[in-house]
Symmetry: C2
Subunit: 264 residues, 2 copies
C-alpha cells in the first residue's frame, strides 16, 4: 500500500486561542481529503504553540546569573538563554549560537526548541503585554504538553467526523553525527511511537535482531519534508497508508532513558 | 503536491551478481508505476550488498588480538568483531551486544551495519567457500561504496527509460537520545543529501535561522517504514513528489565532520 503525505492548503496565520481542529477540518475540505480511520494528521510545532499562546516577549524576561554566564559562553541573548534554561532539565553542550539541552519534555535538542522565526507582532493578539517591546523580541516556546495537545485535537476530530485517526506534533531537530535537521515527533496521540518487531521472523525464519522501529519519527521526517520550513507555510500534513495498526501512543516511548544513553 | 512512497512488489531473493536494475524495472512494471523525471528509487542496503557479493562466512575470518579483546567486552563473536573493526575507522562506544563505530563510510552506526538476518546459504551462490561453514555463519557487510552503487543503478535506469531520477540506498540506524531505529541514507546519487535553505525568508520576511534540511534522510525514514524489515520483504520503494529539484548528491553531505561533532 502506498504511503502518502499531503500538505494541507490554506492554513491561515495562527493566533492565540485559535481552534486548530476547525482550521484543519476546513483545510482538509479545501484539499478534498475525506478522513478515513487509520489516517494520521501531523502539525508543525509552531502552529500548536501559537494557538496555545506560547509566545514570550524577551522584554518580559529577567535573566538569572546562570543565564547571563551561559549567554556569554554561547554568544546568545541572556533573556533567550533564561527561557532555554526554564524549558530544560539540563544543559548537555554549549557552543557559539547553540545550547544543546535535555528539554523538560525529555528529548535532546538545540536551544530548547525555542524559535525566533515565524513570529510577528500581529500574531501576538491576545498575549498580555505589560512591557516595552518590538517585533523582533518575540519568541515561541514549544507547547506545554504536546501529547496532550495532540490528544485534544484527536478527540475533537473524532467528535466532528467519527474517524479514529492519529495526531502528531513535530519539530525539526539536529542530530549527533549527521548534518541537517529532520522532523521528529515531539507529541503524539493515537499512533505508536515505536513499533516493536522483536520476535518477528525474517524471510528465512530467523528471528530479527534489532527491530524496534521509531515509526512515529519515520513519519515525522517525511511530513517535515513536505511542510517545508520557510515561506511555503504548509504547517499541517495528512498521512494515509501507515502500515501498522493505530494504538494509543506517547512521546515517552521515543525517549531513550538517560541510563541507556551512551552519548551525553 | 502529495509525496508518495510505494513499496515495490515481487522483488525476488537477491543473489551475488544479480542485476538490480532489471529486477527493479520489472517490479515497477508489476506495480504499474511508470517512472517520471524527478522520481526517486530507494533500495534497502541488504539487496545491494547481496547483489554485490558482500556476504562473508565467519568460518573464513581469523580474529585479531584487538577483536578478541573487544569481543569479550561486547559479548560478541570475535570473528564478527574482526569484520566490524575491518569495516570501521574507530570504535566510539562498547556495550553488551553492541559496538558503536564510525564506519569507514563516515557515519556512526552499531556493529558497522553488519547484518546477520536475512542471509541464508541458498543466497551465497557464487560466493567462494573454501572453508567449513554452516548457514548461521553468514553475515552481510554494507556495500563497498553505496554512492557508487546508487550511481550505477541510476545510470542504467537512465539508459533503459530515459528518466532522470534519484537513487538512494538506506539502512536502519539507532540514534543517540532517542529509542528505535529509523531509515537513513547510506548512499545516494542524483538527489540532494542536504537542502540548504539559509537565506530563505519566513512568512514575515525574516531570514530563517537553522535551515539545512537533511532531505535524503527525511525520505529514507519514511521509505524504511514502508519497506518493513521482516518477512514482508519489500526492499525497494518508489518515491514521487519530492518537493525539491534533483541534483548530484553524495552521502558525504550528510556526515557531520568530527571537529563539529559535540557527541563522540
Amino acid at each position: 500500500m502506498t504511503l502518502t503525505f499531503t500538505p494541507l492548503p490554506k492554513i491561515p496565520l495562527i493566533h492565540t486561542g485559535d481552534d486548530l481542529t476547525d482550521i484543519i477540518l476546513n483545510s482538509l475540505q479545501a484539499a478534498k481529503v475525506t478522513l478515513e480511520d487509520g489516517d494520521i494528521l501531523v502539525l508543525a510545532q509552531k502552529i500548536v504553540s501559537k494557538a496555545e499562546g506560547r509566545l514570550v516577549n524577551l522584554g518580559s524576561v529577567t535573566p538569572s546569573k546562570e543565564a547571563i554566564e551561559l549567554a556569554t559562553r554561547s554568544e546568545k541573548d541572556p533573556r533567550l538563554v533564561e527561557l532555554i534554561l526554564q524549558e530544560s532539565r539540563s544543559v548537555l553542550r554549549v557552543r557559539q549560537g547553540t545550547i544543546i539541552v535535555e528539554h523538560r519534555l525529555g528529548f535532546v535538542c538545540a536551544n530548547a526548541g525555542i524559535d525566533h522565526s515565524n513570529v510577528q507582532p500581529g500574531e501576538t493578539k491576545g498575549v498580555s503585554k505589560n512591557f516595552a517591546s518590538d517585533a523582533e523580541d518575540w519568541v515561541l516556546l514549544l507547547p506545554e504538553n504536546p501529547d496532550r495537545s495532540a490528544l485534544a485535537i484527536r478527540r475533537k476530530i473524532k467528535i466532528a467526523t467519527g474517524n479514529r485517526i492519529g495526531v502528531m506534533i513535530i519539530d525539526s531537530h539536529g542530530r549527533a553525527w549527521r548534518l541537517g535537521t529532520i522532523g521528529m515527533a515531539i507529541g503524539l496521540s493515537g499512533l505508536p511511537g515505536l513499533v516493536d518487531k522483536r520476535g518477528w521472523q525474517d524471510l528465512f525464519g530467523y528471528r530479527l535482531k534489532i527491530t524496534i522501529v521509531a515509526a512515529a519519527d519515520e513519519l515525522a521526517a517525511a511530513a517535515s519534508l513536505v511542510m517545508g520550513e520557510a515561506a511555503e507555510g504548509t504547517p499541517a500534513v495528512h498521512i494515509r497508508g501507515f502500515p501498522y495498526p493505530l494504538r494509543e501512543g506517547s512521546l515517552k516511548e521515543l525517549i531513550r532513558p538517560t541510563a541507556q544513553d551512551l552519548f551525553r
